[in-house]
Amino acid sequence: MYKYDSYDQQMVDARVDEFRDQVERRLAGKLTEDQFKPLRLMNGLYLQLHAYMLRVAVPYGTLSGAQMHILADIADKYDRGYGHFTTRQNIQYNWIKLEDAPDLMADLAAVEMHAIQTSGNCIRNISSDHFAGAAADELVDPRPYAELLRQWSSFHPEFMYLPRKFKIAVIASDTDRAAMRLHDIGIQIVEQNGELGAAFYVGGGMGRTPMIAPRIRDFVPLDQLVTYSEACLRVYNRHGRRDNKYKARIKILVHEMGAEEYTRQVEEEFAHLLDEGIEPPLAELERIKTYFEDPAFEAGAKSIDRSDPDFALWVERNTVRHKHDSYVSAVISLKPVGGIPGDATSAQMHLMADLAAQYSFDECRVMHTQNIVLPHVKIADLHTLWTALHEAGLGEPNLDQVGDIIACPGLDYCSLANARSIPISQQISERFAANGKGDTLGELKLKISGCINACGHHHAGHIGILGVDKKGVENYQLLLGGSEAEDASLAKITGPGFNEAGIVDAVETTADVYLREREDGERFLDTYRRIGMAPFKEALYG
């Protein structure tokens, strides 16, 4: 894992002191809320429905056991014993007191964590593949590149007041596990003629105008990665629509300007920047890489005893092939049937931290699907690990199944929400567990947002649900056919929305159409793409 150097630590510590002073001045009345709000937001502190909410950055989703333990302690000390893991691979706390926030941030800083740039119109936490450094199919570990970009984008003075928030994802395999093309910039590390470089996708996003990012450059040499990123940002910073919040994201600029013209301007700026020599020396990248070297993998058992059927099912669904044949990556589901997607209690966090220390070289990862990964688990340890998880209610075998729902906080917590998302996800997972259909559906990604901002990725759901306000009553639109993966597509609305009970029925009806129509080996998404919307509409509204 990356370790802070003295600069990193100094910056984070200084930020805690600065924020402590700002909070004191706010509480003493020397700052008005209008003056204070941008300051607290720069430190990830929002005001939500019930209290202040703090969003903590987890760079590319990677956490050490010690960091996970502190996240658990924070939940107990400053919150109500739990936290919410989010689609941006971060964690949010829902009940923070303003007067406690500086102490909380000092606790975070002690384990090299912070909440900087988790809000505001800046470059946000950089996300990546949750199996990075472990995946059998990756070209290289994408995290050193994500870390380089994190360092470049942290406190970058030119990009602190962009037209709008800015999100970057970095992957290094053809399978996209990070929704890369739904980011403002998606970067894929690729190989060309034996040399590593980066393909750039720019202008993706969700929100009210979802877009899939077009590829604007096939190959940027690694010693020009930061320079090219800077050029992409500069053109956006210059022309992005500051006049209209709803048109301010880079996706709108790329769309309105046209990908070709945008690319032309980026290339022009890039040529200019190359002359300026802003790229950090490659030695810096090499230095960063040393933090992400493989742990000391050992050869061991390669086969798994699957005689226990519950264990076998979990292995089949929740473990993923590792680049070392004596290891797998194991996914801890935070989606028990009827539970709140992404919520974990402090006890669960402590347990996950202990298990990471014992079985995964002290490392865990937050997935954008709101689950936790232990990236490097010895096959020989799997059964012991599963037993511990199972006993703690963390052994749900449902990765990418209908019960593995992404849900944003919705109207239960979020001040921008139109409708609740969590209860819908709870009812759907309960329905499909009770009727037994859940186990027959295979991969089915269901994603729910409580408003058009799309924090729950509903545009990218095989089945998506969007909460809307219909004359003061919660109403839900159903969408079909989205994907955040390498076959990215945007889901389409089926038709008129449903009320709370109706949307759960509608999802079941949709699943039934799939079960009736599917051909051998087809996932829900494949069937939808083959047969189109009509049979689903017929069944839903017929």
């Binding site: 809320e33 005001l47 019930h50 009940w95 007191k97 109207l411 239960d412 917590y413 209860p423 919660e474």
Partner: protein, 98 residues
């Protein structure tokens, strides 16, 4: 009726204007009528409340019920965590919200 709400500056707790000060319980909320804006300005300036606003509400069973579901969620707490609401022992409380 017009009731007033906001968050406590220090703790972030949801609070309601009870005629003399700020209460955590919507049951205590009073009709601020024509005074609403004046009270908000005075209380916010004195830092007795943060980002306050006026909420349309009506009396139902003797309790002010905010017109918008968002303020009813604020008044009770998250519907998915009854244990963390202001009425953890009352399973019916959520019906009031929805």
């Amino acid at each position: 009726m017009k009731i007033l709400t906001g968050n406590d500056l220090k703790t972030g707790d949801v609070v309601w204007w009870d005629g003399r000060g700020w209460s955590r319980h919507v049951e205590d909320a009073v009709d601020a009528g024509e005074e609403a804006e004046t009270i908000l300005a005075r209380e916010e300036a004195a830092r007795r409340v943060n980002v306050p606003y006026v909420v349309a509400a009506e009396m139902a069973d003797g309790i002010p019920r905010p017109a918008h579901i968002k303020d009813r969620v604020r008044a009770l707490g998250p519907t998915v965590r009854p244990d963390l609401t202001l009425k953890p022992a009352d399973p019916q409380a959520i019906d009031w919200v929805i």
